[in-house]
Symmetry: C2
Subunit: 196 residues, 2 copies
């Protein structure tokens, strides 16, 4: 069974793409991030809520502030990556819904009046968009190094506010020497899929 | 700024792909699902935890049981789609970690001893994998209709167990007549991206 997506694209996005732990010095430009965003912004979210927000950490001063909140094993690579992005979910995404969902602007009040409901929805849909973003980084010919090993309260306080929940911190760049080890195994189809 | 991914693939996965609300009668085979899974299983998760589980709803009896728990606006299309998949997160994913993360089997106990920690991690990483799966459906030349409008407690009780959290229900097939309306707007880059 072959896919419609050609094998070059399959390799670029999934089969040969790997989480990078080292990077070259080649900068990642704002134009590259724009190209990524302008592709992956079309990925679907519930009621088109688009809760993902992206903080690009470009200044050395901001980089130093971020590194302090990373797990120890993630510090050196977060210090060295050409670009680091903090992906977060906007728990007040519903404020934009009348504009994002013009055919059903009532969704804002009908479904998302309560903050705990918004927080779970922003987490789930923000994570969907974080995955689209990782795929987009790879589509740009770059490597992503997504990390969840950081202090979320610290990152939130340092870079965000109470309305934003940090999801993933992503190192971005061209893979450097020994950027990754052997790939870890995946679960077999029959361990994951049940038919009813 | 152009991406390394060719425009045909960009269109297939993001630019022309849409959430489908109607489908043709063409069946979606187990071989197609295997091809999708064998591609997207390589998408990254934290510590390779791979918490996504997939329940393929194939029998008419199971379909009827699922439709009852869907939001009213999602019932007709969930009834009619060639295939429906319930995507869930396995909150006991850590049991597989010694096998999935052979170079750091202690992760199971060091990071994931507590259930609330596992639940949040399974939700976040399961959602990343749900997004990879949606991209994979499109890579197969099919359309996905992901839905979060369902009663999670009902779906869990009907098809899963207390260790699995339903995330998204996805209709899958070839798009039928009037499968979608005009695309809703997305946020501009400068509404989403902040640079520090």
């Amino acid at each position: 069974m072959s896919l419609e997506l050609d094998t070059t694209a399959q390799d670029l996005l999934f089969r040969e793409a790997r989480t990078a732990n080292t990077f070259t010095d080649e900068p990642v430009t704002d134009e590259q991030i724009r190209a990524v965003y302008d592709l992956v912004k079309y990925g679907p979210t519930a009621f088109n809520q688009c809760p993902l927000r992206i903080t690009l950490v470009r200044s050395p001063e901001a980089r130093a502030r971020l590194v302090r909140h990373m797990a120890e094993g993630n510090r050196a690579k977060t210090e060295a990556a050409p670009l680091v992005a903090i992906l977060s979910a906007d728990n007040e995404f519903h404020e934009e819904l009348p504009r994002l969902l013009p055919h059903f602007p009532q969704a804002k009040d009908v479904f998302y009046a309560e903050r705990p409901v918004r927080e779970r929805s922003a987490l789930l849909n923000g994570a969907l968009q974080a995955a689209y973003f990782i795929i987009g980084i790879r589509a740009a010919g770059l490597a992503a190094g997504p990390m969840t090993g950081f202090d979320p309260a610290g990152v939130r306080k340092e870079f965000l506010d109470d309305d934003h929940t940090p999801l993933v911190v992503v190192n971005i760049g061209r893979p450097g020497p020994d950027a990754w080890g052997p790939r870890s195994p995946r679960l077999d189809l029959d361990e994951v899929v049940t038919t009813v």
